[in-house]
Every structure is written in structure tokens, then in C-alpha cells.
């Protein structure tokens, strides 16, 4: 087994123990990319020279004690809608094809401070609009578990890269399930933190009230370690200034003691299973796998019961109205004036705008901008946008009620396993419906983690654990406990002895 199979914390520990250097770790990723990328295509930009130079610099810093954190020297990948100074950031769109940001996103600053080495920018649905990574203008990404299938989306590149062992961990962004659904499809762990936990400064906005950056890893502990680094207040994001940095030291202590100690975290935890999520269009194999996970948690000491969440039929309409409306405004800045693509040979100003945007944006993006412009337009604003915001309040209140009774809500991450390539885009409504279990979490601003809980054929099945706002720690504790109880699945999961030492 090559080192590429190890988890991020294991690599970090090896580097710390001087069994491995940051440069060797990065090289292992590039070697793996050489083998996998032609098939998987998880990355849009791979800047080997820059990454190797950075790895050498970080390695020095580790030697002289500048970097001491658990992920110092560990290669990570970043979704291509997160700004990286000096490295192209395209949102997988023609309109930003050659865009090189002059500044780093807040999370990039945090990663650099922690000594993580960014080895590339990952593919995604254009402007994060899609659930398959097929709307990317930079080509599709294939699911490493079965390359006839999509990796999910929109953070399909980040999840595929981790699943393919091309990188040890990655950052994604989640607006309506864009981390959790591809994590489920690719069989990795991915988390959408509470809205306001991670700064959005430098995340190219899709829907500002729903977007949140989160970690993707091979296991829960890797996600938690990454989340510790990127969470916390940032005075440049007005929606993330009072938040505390997440601190999982309690969990790390339990890992040091034993897996059983971690699993014990479930004891007495109240877990609600919304009955509406297990009827209707759900694939029976998915349903069974997720319910089996509920049984596992029950056996582990959790109090599991079903309940009615309500509001489920309003979640997708409310989500698409809100997301498209905000997107139509957020994407107005791409106009050929300040950055990115500009059409040649336009006539007047408005002709330039219209041609630039017509040529620069892909079809899915255009559709959502058109829809968003419509629902905000005069005469329709109240009927659509305000109505959706009212529904949003009722959806949030439904969750508030549930969390009076439960610590966690257990749900599938998606109604089916990863669909075959080329089968989703023709029917947008069907694609939108596949987000049924994820969008409400964004509408209510909740933390939620997706992780594998089984398989259907060659494809992983994702379990989703949803928590109360600003109770990200409970989500992580519950997920970590379940992970131990679940046992080995495909990739390396529960932390090894080495990791325990590292924490």
C-alpha cells in the first residue's frame, strides 16, 4: 500500500515524525494524478512547480518549528470557486477562464498558516450550479468508484480527487448539497458547517445566504482537522464575525484513548429519522443502507426514533427560487469589464455585456440567471422571492422543532447512488429533485456531514447527519462514533495508532 492511501492526519503525523517530507507527500499526489487524472479529471489547475516550491518551504518551516499543526505539510486540493492569489480560479466557467485573483480567500490564508500545501484546484459544476460536475466548461469529472458514473456535484472534483487518492483532503463549497451529495456518490466524508462558521471571504458567490465552505476527507477525523483550521471569525465577512473557531480537542482525546471511547459518544444521543425522507422517490437500496446505519447507531447506544419533519414538498421550490434569485445578482459582476472573458467585436456597451455573458456562461448558468431575474422582477417578487423566504422561515422552524427533541437528524444524502454520466442534464427537474435531502440544511443554515454507510453495486451510499445551528461539534462527534461502529468500508477510515499519537 502506497502512502497515497493514507489519511491526511496519518500523512501529517508521518511528516511530523520525519518519516516523510512535505515534498515527498506532494510528489506522491502528483504521481497518483499521473496515473488517475486522464481517467478521472478531478482537477482544473495543477501547478506542480508552485506546489513543490511551497512544499519545500513548508518542510523548512516544519523543521524550524514554524508549522506544528496536524496538517502541516499535508497536500490538499481546493475547489475552483475559492480564490487563490496568483493561481487561476475559474469557477469552471469560460467567463473566468484566465482569471487569476490578486488575493487569497480567508480559508486559503488559514490553510497556508497551518502549513497545508495546496496542490491544485478542483473541477466543479460551473459556478457551483449543478449536481454532477457535468456543467463544468472544463470537461467532466468521472467517479473514481465507477468511471461510467458522475462524481456528483458541484464539488465533484474535490470529492473525486480524495476518493481517487490523488490528494489527502480538499475544500469544497455547499449551497444546496454540493459537498454532501458528491461525498456520498464518491464514498468520502464531507461536511457543510453551520452558516457563519467559515468565512465566505474569497468564495465566489453562488447564493450568498446559502453558500458555505467545508472540508472533504477520507474520514471524519480528517474533516474535523480541516474544519478546525478553516473555521472561526473573519471581520471581512459580516455573516461570520461572532463565530468561534471550532475546537475538537475533546474528540481528539477520545481518539487517543480508543475507538470505543469515540463510539461511546453516541450513548444517549437522541437521533431523529424524518419519515418523509424514506418514502417517495428514494431508491430502496439507499433506504435500506441508511436505515441500517440508524440501527448501528441504536446498537451503539443512541436513542433513535422516527418523526415527521414536515415541509418537505416546499424545500426544493423555496431553495431554487432563493438560490437563482441571488445568483442572478451575484453573477451580474461578470460583464467583461473588470476581469475574465470579454467578447470581441461588440458594438455598444449593452451589446458587449450581452455577448460577453452569452458566450461566457454555460447553459445551466444562463437558465438559473434567467429564472432568478424573473423571480425578482417587478410584479413577481412577492409571489416568488418573498413567498420563498416565508417558506424558508417555516422550514427553519420545522427543524427548530425537531431539534427540541433530537441532537441529530439522520437522513440519506441523496435519493439514489451516482447516476450514469450524461443522464442528468437533459431533465433539470429530475436533477433538482435529487437535492431533496440536502437543500433544506442550507435553507436552515444547519451543519451536516455526509459519509459512506454502504454500497449499492460498485457505488457508495451516503448517510447524512444533520445538527442544530452552531452545534457542528455534535455532528462531528456523532459521525466519528458512527464511523467507528460502522467499521471498514472502502478507503482508510478510522484513525490508526499513528494518528492517535498525532492528536
Amino acid at each position: 500500500m502506497g502512502i497515497e492511501q493514507l489519511s491526511a492526519l496519518e500523512i501529517g503525523q508521518k511528516i511530523k515524525k520525519k518519516e516523510l517530507t512535505a515534498v515527498e507527500a506532494a510528489q506522491a499526489c502528483f504521481d497518483r494524478m499521473d496515473a488517475m487524472e486522464s481517467e478521472v479529471h478531478a482537477f482544473i489547475t495543477i501547478d506542480r512547480e508552485r506546489a513543490m516550491a511551497e512544499a519545500r518551504r513548508v518542510q523548512k518551516g516544519i523543521m524550524d518549528g514554524t508549522y506544528t499543526g496536524p496538517l502541516a505539510g499535508v497536500p490538499v486540493a481546493v475547489k475552483d470557486n475559492i480564490c487563490t492569489k496568483g493561481v487561476a480560479t475559474t469557477c469552471a466557467s469560460r467567463i473566468l477562464e484566465n482569471y487569476v485573483p490578486p488575493y487569497d480567500a480567508h480559508v486559503i490564508e488559514r490553510l497556508k498558516e497551518a502549513g497545508a500545501v495546496i496542490i491544485g484546484k478542483t473541477n466543479m459544476d460551473e459556478f457551483a450550479m449543478g449536481s454532477t460536475t457535468e456543467t463544468s466548461a472544463m470537461g467532466i469529472t468521472r467517479n473514481p468508484r465507477n468511471t461510467d458514473h458522475v462524481p456528483g456535484g458541484s464539488s465533484g472534483g474535490s470529492c473525486a480527487a480524495v476518493a481517487a487518492n490523488e490528494v489527502f483532503a480538499a475544500l469544497g463549497s455547499d449551497t444546496g448539497g454540493s459537498i454532501r451529495q458528491p461525498s456520498a456518490y464518491c464514498g468520502v466524508a464531507g461536511m457543510k458547517p453551520t452558516y457563519g462558521t467559515v468565512s465566505r471571504y474569497g468564495l465566489i458567490a453562488y447564493a450568498s445566504s446559502l453558500d458555505q465552505i467545508g472540508p472533504v476527507g477520507k474520514n471524519v477525523a480528517d474533516c474535523a482537522a480541516l474544519l478546525e483550521i478553516i473555521s472561526g471569525p473573519d471581520r471581512r465577512d459580516s455573516t461570520c464575525v461572532a463565530g468561534e473557531s471550532l475546537d475538537f480537542s475533546g474528540l481528539w482525546e477520545e481518539y487517543k484513548i480508543s475507538p470505543e471511547a469515540v463510539a461511546a459518544g453516541l450513548r444517549g444521543m437522541r437521533v431523529g429519522v424524518p419519515e418523509e425522507y424514506f418514502t417517495g422517490g428514494i431508491d430502496p437500496q439507499i433506504r435500506d443502507a441508511v436505515l441500517k446505519a440508524a440501527d448501528t447507531m441504536k446498537a451503539g447506544g443512541a436513542i433513535v426514533e422516527t418523526f415527521s419533519l414536515g415541509m418537505t414538498q416546499y424545500m426544493i421550490p423555496a431553495y431554487y427560487i432563493i438560490a437563482c434569485a441571488q445568483a442572478s445578482s451575484n453573477l451580474a459582476r461578470f460583464d467583461g469589464v473588470k476581469y475574465g472573458y470579454r467578447t470581441e467585436g461588440a458594438g455598444d456597451l449593452h451589446d458587449m455585456y450581452k455577448k460577453t455573458r452569452a458566450q461566457g456562461f454555460g447553459w445551466e448558468v444562463k437558465k438559473r440567471i434567467l429564472l432568478g431575474s424573473f423571480v425578482l422582477s417587478s410584479g413577481y417578487y412577492d409571489a416568488y422571492y418573498i413567498k420563498a423566504l416565508k417558506a424558508n422561515r417555516l422550514i427553519k422552524e420545522a427543524f427548530d422543532r425537531a431539534f427540541e427533541k433530537y441532537d441529530l437528524i439522520l437522513a440519506p444524502a441523496a435519493p439514489s447512488a451516482a447516476p450514469k454520466l450524461g443522464t442528468s442534464l437533459t431533465d433539470p427537474l429530475k436533477m433538482y429533485l435529487s437535492d431533496i435531502y440536502t437543500v433544506a440544511v442550507n435553507l436552515a443554515g444547519l451543519p451536516a456531514m455526509s459519509m459512506p454507510c454502504g454500497q449499492t453495486g460498485s457505488l457508495p451510499v451516503g448517510l447524512q447527519l444533520i445538527g442544530q445551528r452552531f452545534k457542528d461539534d455534535i455532528v462531528v462527534r456523532g459521525a466519528a462514533a458512527y464511523e467507528v461502529l460502522r467499521g471498514n468500508w472502502m478507503a482508510s477510515e478510522a484513525p490508526s495508532e499513528e494518528v492517535k499519537e498525532a492528536l
Binding site: Y99, V100, P102, Y103, Y195, G196, S209, R235, S238, T239, C240, V241, A242, Q313, Y314, I316, P317, A318, I321, S328, G336, V337, K338, Y339, G340, Y341, R342, G347, D348, L349, D351, M352, Y353, K354, K355, R357, A358, F361, W363, K366, K367, L370, L371, F374, S377, Y380, A383, Y384, K387, A388, L389, K390, A391, N392, R393, L394, K396, P428, L429, Y432
Partner: protein
């Protein structure tokens, strides 16, 4: 509100608002898909939202301000340098008058 029909008039207006020029084919397809999605969204009309306040800000932990203190940066020239067309440190656009 009755059933919304995406007709040519609505579409003309939406294209201006969205600043997108669509080909005939794209336009027809967009109208069809938008209609389909809006019809689906009609479901929301079955939800009683009388006396419900729209949820505008999920993050609401009191006032968020910055102090009136100048912060300089050293990337100004890089910002403008990223423009597709520029002259003398300014962004160049087709004439506006």
C-alpha cells in the same frame, strides 16, 4: 396569483434584465424549461404563509460594523491589470454616451 406563463413579452424583459443574448433555439428551450420549473414551483402556493415573516438573515447575532479606519493594500495595480481592456490604470469600456 394565477398560473404564470412565460411568453415572448416576459422573455424579452428577462433577457434585458439578465443581460444575456440568446439564440432563437436557446430562447425557445429556456422558455420551455423555465415554464416547467415555474409550474413545479407552483407547489409553494399551497403553503399558507399568512402572518409569516420572510427569513432574510440566517446569521443574526447583533450588529456587525467596521471602524472608520483606513486600510491600505498593495494589490491595486494588480486589480486593474486583470481587466480585459484598460488604459492608464483605468478600465476601458465601449463609450457610455
Amino acid at each position: 396569483m394565477g398560473k404564470i406563463v412565460i411568453d415572448d413579452q416576459v422573455m424579452d424583459n428577462v433577457e434585458i434584465l439578465a443581460k444575456l443574448s440568446l439564440t432563437g433555439e436557446e430562447r425557445a428551450q429556456a422558455m420551455e424549461k423555465m415554464q416547467e420549473i415555474l409550474d413545479y414551483m407552483e407547489q409553494l402556493n399551497t403553503l399558507d404563509t399568512d402572518n409569516v415573516e420572510p427569513l432574510v438573515n440566517l446569521y443574526d447575532r447583533g450588529n456587525v460594523f467596521r471602524d472608520d479606519v483606513i486600510e491600505d493594500n498593495d494589490i491595486k495595480s494588480e486589480i486593474v491589470a486583470g481587466a480585459p481592456k484598460q488604459k492608464d490604470g483605468q478600465y476601458m469600456v465601449p463609450k457610455t454616451i
